[in-house]
């Protein structure tokens, strides 16, 4: 027959309680009674309901403003902590670390408890949040492989920036195994070296549905992610702990896709702007050179009157230099104009690819306004792929809307048959 001392029994009891998985991390709901706040600063009370009661101790270091507000005589609360045996006094006690009003429900209470703890640990710190890449090349998406969320994200990406590649890391997003699945997906994506940014996405739902994204393991996995993480969980008004740990929070999965990539239309417009800047820069360079040459010519001209005092040979030399410089400048201007025309024809602003044409007179000069084209003129029309000859018909100059009529090949028009064309 086994016989133990009181100490041994006490120790045994404590050991049993502290090993029990339920009792080491538990929310208890009940009514507060026997509230006592001795000078030590610790708070003691009893939680009771109709059939039982449990002693509770909320020590000073564990007290928070939230728990102190909730603790009141007669209040219905949810108290979180672990159950153990205080051997010296033989008391079974709940050692409390958080108290919430019962009305919020245990999920809200647990949410608040986790949020406060992780925030205190620094998991939400703003300084740690990374900037997202401007032109991501591969986006890792952690979400369910079924359902509309992944489709929505892909649709937005296709519209805005189809250059990007999408890598789906499928996982359950609610229920048992969801938190583990999300953690695993994050780890797998982080092990690669080609993912620039990760999106955690799931559609709207109740707090239970979204609960995986409030789990501590998921929060820590996001915090540990080398790759920046965008959290897009639930609807606009749903906040989960993942949202606070992530580098960026998006109100919905579609909104996440919008902020992850640029808009190709906007970038195309910017490209057009850059082209214009290039042309302007080129013109400025040309103007500057022209000024330099003109200045050189003026200097030469200044010496002309005195040249009569110099020999005829020197005079001739100065004339030759003058002529050569003028010629050189004209040639360069022409070459440049020709090059710019060619490059303009190939210009990526796509003017020509959209069906616009460059129209030249027979002598090669570009016609920019309809007023410059006169009836009977032979013109060359340059499209994106080739050019062809044409003749201007119709009225003259400013009183005409669209002046030029196009013929696909210049061919003689038989008399009396013009109307058929």
């Amino acid at each position: 027959m086994l016989s133990l001392t009181v100490t041994q029994i006490g120790s045994h009891l404590r050991g049993l309680l502290e090993m029990d998985p339920i009792l080491t991390d538990i929310w208890v709901s009940g009514e507060i009674s026997n509230l006592s706040r001795p000078q030590s600063g610790h708070i003691y009370f009893t939680l009771k309901d109709e059939a039982a009661q449990l002693r509770c101790a909320l020590f000073r270091p564990r007290q928070t403003i939230a728990s102190l507000t909730a603790v009141d005589h007669g209040a219905q609360v949810l108290a979180h902590g672990y159950v153990s045996f205080y051997e010296q006094r033989g008391d079974l006690q709940l050692y409390v670390d958080a108290v919430q009003p019962a009305g919020l429900g245990v999920l809200a209470a647990e949410f608040e408890r986790l949020r406060a703890r992780l925030e205190a640990e620094g998991l939400f710190a703003l300084e740690r949040k990374r900037a997202l890449p401007l032109f991501p090349r591969r986006i890792g998406v952690v979400t369910s492989s079924t359902g509309a969320v992944f489709q929505d994200i892909c649709h937005v990406l296709t519209r805005r920036w189809p250059l990007v590649e999408v890598l789906l890391a499928p996982t359950l997003v609610q229920g048992d195994g969801a938190a583990t699945g999300v953690v695993l997906a994050l780890e797998r994506l982080n092990r690669r070296n080609d993912v620039d940014v990760i999106v955690l996405a799931r559609g709207g739902g109740s707090m239970e549905d979204l609960w995986a994204f409030n789990e501590e393991a998921v929060a820590r996995a996001i915090f540990a992610s080398r790759v920046p993480v965008v959290s897009a969980v639930g609807h606009e008004t749903d906040y989960t702990i993942a949202d606070w740990v992530a580098d960026v929070r998006a109100p919905t999965p579609s909104a996440a896709a919008e902020l992850l990539v640029p808009d190709q239309l906007e970038i195309a417009a910017r490209l057009g702007g850059r082209e214009q800047q290039l042309r302007a820069g080129m013109r400025r360079a040309l103007d500057r050179l022209q000024q330099d040459v003109e200045q050189a010519l003026r200097l030469l001209d200044r010496y002309r009157p005195d040249a009569s005092r110099l020999g005829a040979g020197v005079r001739a030399l100065l004339e030759t230099m003058r002529r050569r410089l003028t010629h050189e400048l004209e040639m360069r201007q022409q070459r440049l104009a020709g090059r710019m025309n060619e490059l303009g024809a190939l210009s990526p602003s796509g003017t020509l690819t959209r069906g616009y044409a460059l129209v030249h007179r027979a002598d090669g000069e570009l016609i920019v306004r309809a007023a410059e084209a006169h009836a009977g003129d032979s013109i060359r029309v340059r499209m994106v792929d080739d050019d062809f000859g044409a003749r201007v018909e119709g009225g003259d100059g400013a009183d005409r809307g669209n002046g030029a009529t196009r013929q696909t090949r210049p061919r003689p028009v038989p008399a009396g048959q013009e109307r058929l064309l």
């Binding site: 032109f135 250059l163 850059r274 820069g281 050179l289 490059l343 210009s347 990526p348």
Partner: protein, 87 residues
């Protein structure tokens, strides 16, 4: 060298971001001025070609989607989600 590294290197050469950055540089050089006529033309031509390359990349792009998959041996491979060409 695994496939991920090779792909990343190729991407680094051809990335839109890289080409776009070079275009910005060309524009900045031309804006700054002080180049001779030949050099101005060279920078201008380069800039226009870079802008065209950017536009080509955008025009040719089609969203590529793939999925993390586990094969029989438990190793991680990627599988394209549209079934045209398996990886």
């Amino acid at each position: 060298m695994n496939e991920g590294e090779t792909q990343a290197q190729v991407d680094a050469v051809a990335s839109f971001e890289g080409v776009y950055a070079q275009l910005e540089q060309a524009v900045a050089r031309l804006d700054a001025g002080g180049l001779g006529l030949e050099e101005s033309i060279a920078v201008y031509e380069t800039g226009v070609r870079l802008a065209r390359r950017c536009k080509e990349m955008l025009d040719a792009a089609e969203l590529r989607v793939s999925e993390l998959e586990q094969d029989m041996a438990g190793a991680l491979t990627t599988l394209p989600l549209d079934d045209e060409e398996p990886d």
